[in-house]
Symmetry: C2
């Protein structure tokens, strides 16, 4: 059974496993530093569909199919699907996954959705509520750009603090303890509002939430940066990463040597013209599912924190002068499971 | 521990309780048949705010505060918040609940969100993952109308199959087995796509999903309409209710004597000019939290199915010619808990 540690952290005593992952990306993602690690890349931004929205759905469909193929599973083997994306009413997920016939929980966590879906999936396994669950999310540069900013045809100039929404999807199967990565603990984030209003600076809107969630995890578990090989945020990009390091330093935690950000891993900022770095649900999902999960499985990473962050605004709320609150959800991923608790079920 | 029954139904052996509920509504809801049962009614559609979107957030804030007051709880007593609404990027929830500081899971299930949030909340309790959880959702006629249909100022004519989005919010506290209503079992819905394309006929888009989920529950549990005092859908309204009755009759289940729909309870169609009936996340939430939960607590309803339905489209997807898929999530609510299982933990 799970154990509360401190006020915000839940130790998953059964250490659910991520038994499979699949990542899909577009042309720009394929050309980036980890492009070769994606399971599927497609150089056609439309993925053979009639619209960018349907292209994003097609990415989710292919990612779901790929992870099932890799794990030799069919939809009937999976009890619940936790899915979400950035599009209004999360239609990328609804249209992309409707044919699977898997009981469906729709989520909205903005760019934190990969962590939100993994946390809920791992809680299902920990609580004995399911045997196998899928967590999946996506984003698409073209569908996001026209929904959140400008029509692509407008060719608007991008601010140096702006981030590039990844065209990518990632899917994971979560099941009972069997192989690394093991999900050893989770810290669910709270909404943080620090009066940020700049739609072109999402990193600044999300960094305070990441700082709070990481600090809470360290405090709850009496750990610090030295206990981890990697503290991986997604997607603060350069501006948000610098802010996060400073915010945590003020709290007494120097994360600089251990910190990396999915938005800075997916693209080469020097050559790929992505301003501050990558973003979008598909950024953290793509990096985790292509690059990180295999590295844990191979023992290259032993203990890490995966902290996906989301900016919780809509274009309407920003136009109405509202702040941009942020959220960050954390998972402790490890190459080894939690020790078996006395009297526990693990 | 929970027990799978059949393929789609999970019996919650610990029978989590809905220990408190609160409902808030606007002027039209206050004037309807159950208006007197709402905890808070506000005749100002703006709820003292500057925009309808902020008004909806304010409803959620007040509903959350009210249910905590009724249960003598403070935010620190609640481990997780499951919330969502109809607005793009669920901003009503994000802005309404940001000050609570409760770990937050954002959901999108369209008008099924009250059932989705209650199911996840009850699973958290059943799985020993939390002691107290809040489920909350809302909708607002004015914010929904301009997002999904036309600017209110346009004064567009409404189709007879159209539904009236409720200005309402509902919040529940879910905790360990202590008092009725008990959540005895849940059936999580799958996305159903039956080629419906009419944005003015959501009842038709959602009825097939409701039919499938109810049929699956009956098949999994070897029960039928006779086993329940009430089968309550939300929000099929008149057109969808008639379709549901016919679809289930074809499957051999005559639900007519037991069926009611939140969209037909909230308003008086004869006098309130709501076309086919009510809809919106706040419709099912408001009816459940004001009228139904107290009736179970008082023993007036002994066993019932609460089946909230959602239409999983966006205005963009409909403009692009896509179908409107539906989803329906089911909870078995009862005045008595499940019998204690041999070897169980209940």
């Amino acid at each position: 059974m799970s154990t509360n540690i401190g006020k915000y952290t839940l130790r998953l005593d059964k250490s659910p496993s991520i038994t499979g992952s699949a990542a899909i990306g577009g042309k720009k993602e394929a050309e980036g530093p980890i492009g070769k690690m994606f399971d599927i890349v497609n150089y056609d931004a439309l993925f053979g569909q009639k619209s960018w929205e349907l292209a994003e759905s097609e990415m989710q469909r292919q990612a779901a199919q790929k992870v099932m193929d890799k794990c030799s599973l069919s939809p009937g083997d999976i009890q619940y699907l936790f899915a979400g994306d950035l599009l209004n009413q999360i239609v990328a997920s609804h249209y992309g996954l409707r044919e699977l016939g898997i009981p469906f929980f729709g989520l909205y966590g903005a760019c934190s959705t990969m962590a939100e879906s993994l946390i809920l999936s791992s809680m299902m396994i920990e609580g004995g509520l399911a045997k196998k669950v899928m967590a999946i999310t996506s984003s698409h540069f073209c569908s996001a750009e026209r929904q959140f900013r400008f029509p692509l045809e407008y060719g608007g100039q991008r601010a140096p603090t702006a981030q590039w929404t990844a065209t990518a999807a990632g899917a994971c199967i979560i099941a009972e303890n069997s192989q690394p990565p093991y999900i050893k603990a989770v810290t669910v984030g709270c909404i943080e509002d620090k009066d940020i209003k700049d739609l072109n600076n999402m990193g600044a809107a999300m960094a305070p939430a990441a700082s709070t969630t990481i600090k809470r995890y360290f405090q709850d578990t009496l750990t610090g940066p030295d206990n981890f090989d990697l503290i991986l945020t997604g997607d603060l990009a350069q501006v948000g990463s610098d802010l996060l390091a400073e915010l945590l330093l003020r709290e007494g935690y120097d994360i600089k040597k251990k910190h990396a950000d999915c938005g800075l891993i997916l693209y080469d900022r020097a050559t790929q013209d992505v301003e501050a770095g990558g973003s979008g649900c598909g950024c953290a999902a793509g990096v985790l599912c292509s690059y990180i999960i295999p590295a844990i499985r191979e023992g290259k990473i032993k203990d890490m924190l995966f902290v996906a962050t989301g900016a919780l605004m809509s274009p309407i709320s920003v136009q109405q002068g509202q702040n941009i609150p942020g959220i960050a959800h954390l998972l402790h991923l490890s190459s080894t499971p939690n020790p078996i608790q006395q009297g526990g079920n693990a």
